[in-house]
């Protein structure tokens, strides 16, 4: 899973049946350079162009921070109720599992070594 910022939305009418009712958000993942740059020991490739399209059922909007999960967990996240024995079947690979209220990251002052 990763934490990212919602920067946009993708709209589509012609799509595989299992995707109806899902909203698709463009999420820009947070990088160490955004959260705790003092921990980086060397410059890393520019991340401004990193992005993922994630399905959303929680109603996140642009500007909000979200947690996105991949794979099986993403498919479980967009199925609220399923009868016993039935496995998730929406054809997605990423989904929003939480809308972030706030987060805390260690500051440079805490990192004394």
């Amino acid at each position: 899973m990763f934490m990212g910022k919602v920067v946009g939305t993708v709209w589509s009418t012609v799509k595989w049946e299992g995707l109806h009712g899902l909203k698709f958000l463009v999420v820009r993942p947070y990088h160490l350079a955004d959260l705790a740059p003092h921990l980086l020991v060397r410059p890393t490739p520019y991340t401004m162009y990193d992005g993922v399209v994630a399905a959303d059922v929680l109603g996140a909007g642009p500007g909000e921070d979200v947690i996105v999960a991949y794979g099986h967990s993403a498919r479980v996240a967009v199925e609220p109720e399923l009868p016993d024995g039935k496995l998730p079947s929406r054809p997605i690979d990423a989904a929003v599992v939480a809308i972030v209220d706030h987060f805390h990251v260690e500051s440079a002052a805490q990192d004394e070594e």
């Binding site: 990763f2 990212g4 910022k5 920067v7 946009g8 939305t9 993708v10 709209w11 589509s12 009418t13 012609v14 799509k15 595989w16 995707l19 698709f24 463009v26 820009r28 993942p29 947070y30 990088h31 350079a33 955004d34 410059p43 520019y46 401004m48 162009y49 990193d50 992005g51 993922v52 399209v53 994630a54 399905a55 642009p62 500007g63 794979g71 498919r75 079947s89 929406r90 054809p91 997605i92 690979d93 990423a94």
Partner: protein, 134 residues
């Protein structure tokens, strides 16, 4: 999912028999995150009848095999949707934290900028900054 543009089709006669009757689309991602290898193009099974030049969504992993109807199909990516519009918030390039930008030389054909009347990037004559090292 990956947002990209369909840029071509792959024709192959010699292939795994389980790929018979599947159209293979060449999709160039507009953006991606931590790909396991350097990627300029993704080959994906087209399940929605996309055409060259259209913006599409590609799903990676198992769902491609469900959609093909055969879990033994050697498919790991599928075109799942044809995109009508991509809305990106204006001002994300210059955001104080986590700036986001699209590559100026390869913008989605269906891009719409919002937060400022919603005009398209082309109509407004917008020029994207091309990034660089921080």
């Amino acid at each position: 999912m990956i947002l990209g543009r369909m840029v071509g089709t792959v024709w192959a006669t010699r292939k795994n028999p389980r790929l018979e009757n599947f159209k293979l689309a060449i999709v160039r991602p507009y953006f991606w995150y931590n790909p396991s290898h350097d990627v300029e193009h993704v080959i994906a099974v087209d399940q929605v009848g996309a055409e060259v030049g259209q913006d599409v969504l590609v799903c990676v992993g198992q769902p491609g095999r469900w959609v093909a109807g055969d879990s033994r199909c050697p498919i790991e990516a599928s075109v799942m949707a044809i995109v009508d519009s991509v809305e990106i918030e204006r001002g994300t390039e210059n955001a104080p934290v986590a700036p986001f930008a699209l590559r100026s030389r390869f913008l989605p054909t269906t891009l719409v900028r919002v937060g400022d009347g919603g005009s398209t990037a082309r109509d407004a004559g917008l020029h994207e900054t091309d990034g660089g090292t921080p």
